[in-house]
């Protein structure tokens, strides 16, 4: 049906990233549940700084997503295979950062929005746009061809970076959007740093004195 060389393997790589993204987002929903059940006060009373709390939650959310997606990544690797184990380990490391970044983004938005309904809607819309405007499902050339604006957005999308790095790590060389894997890696590091930092600042500002309610 699709006139893209080796599309099955290409898609399997993207599928793992889409699932990783959707799972890492879940930490935001936990924040609302904790607030509803009064666990938030308990967390604030713990002998840890706010900074440690946000970083810990981001890493926890990312790790949890990784554990959940682990079996799928194994199946993906079985289907795709790995050409170079060192490349794959580097790709895996960047996927960890990606998952932490997505968790940080989810926490940041959850704390900023304060309404679980609005958060649910926003994450749904964001999920639809961020995944579809990336190279998770299709190569960048086709996205650009469909609409140059879509291509431009996909070029700066962290899901694109993660999908491209995963494929590079697994040795799917055809249809890669970036010749140098360092570029998507830097993109992921920036995404992770930005949302972790923003999460810390927002968390610090909004939670004192019941401001998160």
């Amino acid at each position: 049906m699709i006139a893209v060389e080796d599309y099955f393997r290409y898609y399997v790589g993207g599928l793992s990233i889409m699932t990783l993204y959707s799972t890492a987002v879940f930490i935001g929903f936990d924040i609302y549940e904790e607030a509803e059940h009064g666990v938030f006060e308990y967390l604030l009373s713990l002998p840890v700084t706010r900074k440690q709390l946000v970083i810990g939650r981001s890493i926890g959310g990312g790790l949890r997503a990784f554990i959940y997606v682990g079996p799928l990544i194994c199946v993906a690797l079985y289907v795709i295979g790995t050409a170079n184990p060192i490349n794959f380990l580097l790709a895996l490391f960047s996927l960890f950062l990606f998952a932490f970044g997505v968790s940080g983004m989810s926490i940041t938005l959850a704390v900023a929005i304060k309404s679980s309904d609005r958060f649910d809607i926003l994450m749904g819309v964001l999920d639809a746009l961020i995944v579809r405007l990336s190279t998770a499902m299709y190569p960048l050339g086709f996205v650009r061809e469909a609409n140059p604006l879509y291509g431009w957005i996909a070029n700066f999308n962290p899901v694109t970076y993660a999908a491209e790095l995963f494929r590079w790590g697994a040795g799917i060389e055809s249809n890669l959007s970036f010749e140098n894997p360092l570029l998507p890696f830097l993109g992921i590091v920036m995404f992770f740093a930005f949302f972790t930092l923003l999460g810390i600042v927002l968390y610090d500002k909004t939670i004192e004195g019941g401001g998160w309610q």
């Binding site: 049906m1 699709i2 006139a3 609005r118 746009l129 579809r132 499902m137």
Partner: protein, 260 residues
């Protein structure tokens, strides 16, 4: 009838309480059409392009059915929540017969699906073309019965599952089976071809053929695009699905909430 109207009113109030959620859901569906389908349009192999011409046009009717499914299935989530929070005791105490209550729930689920699906169907007509009045009537009737069947299916699952997690898992399984084993995303001829080549189990090919989602999508395509050609089987498949699940859901709802 008056009692059924009260059930409908209550369920529609609940439906519109989540209006922003619905806007979000519609925008997701539109993102599927205006981003994903447009990109896939460029990726089709020449062989498939000869068959379906444009993936955008092919997918728009499938997306209408996807939207109908998602919104008609929402009633199950509410029924499941009522059961968990024991609101069903209050529902049973209302001055109406069990049948009116059960039928009202299935009907409201179906009608809500139709309301949600309307903008998607209108988008489909706007971009692909308008059907004749008779064709429009058939499309609406078939989609209404499909929505009733889906609503019945979701209520049957909702009353048989004790927790939200189990309901969500069952919904996922039903969704993946019904959608990926249908012609919503890809032409049935391709599924059939894979079956003949031994790459896809024949039992799933048969399932895709009788799947009401395949038949409803193909019915809209047959009127708007001319392919596949219209066959009465498309209507019959949806009517049978609707009759089975509406009846089953009504009885399951009555029996299981009395027992709960």
């Amino acid at each position: 009838m008056r009692h059924i109207a009260h059930v409908l009113e209550n369920d529609f109030r609940n439906f519109f309480r989540y209006k922003w959620w619905l806007v979000g859901l519609i925008s997701m569906n539109l993102a599927d059409l205006f981003i994903m389908a447009m990109v896939y349009n460029r990726m089709l192999s020449p062989e498939v392009t000869r068959q379906i011409k444009s993936y955008f046009d092919f997918f728009a009717p499938g997306l209408t059915v996807t939207g109908l499914f998602a919104s008609a299935f929402m009633i199950g989530r509410e029924v499941n929540m009522e059961r968990r929070r024991e609101v069903h005791q209050y529902m049973l105490s209302l001055p109406m017969t069990r049948f009116e209550l059960a039928f009202g729930r299935v009907l409201s689920g179906g009608l809500r699906g139709m309301v949600y699906m309307s903008p998607l169907l209108a988008t489909c007509f706007a971009f692909i073309g308008l059907p004749t009045l008779n064709q429009l009537f058939i499309i609406l009737v078939v989609l209404f019965f499909l929505a009733m069947g889906i609503s019945g299916l979701s209520i049957a699952i909702a009353v048989s599952t004790t927790s939200l997690d189990k309901f969500v898992t069952a919904r996922g399984l039903v969704y993946y089976l019904l959608f990926f084993c249908s012609s919503v995303f890809y032409p049935f001829s391709l599924i059939e071809q894979l079956g003949l080549e031994g790459k896809f189990p024949m039992i799933l090919v048969t399932f895709a053929r009788i799947n009401p989602l395949s038949n409803a999508s193909d019915l809209i395509r047959s009127f708007l695009l001319g392919t596949p050609s219209f066959s009465p089987e498309m209507v019959v498949s949806v009517l049978v699905f609707s009759a089975v699940f509406t009846t089953f859901a009504a009885f399951a709802y009555i029996k299981l909430i009395e027992r709960a």
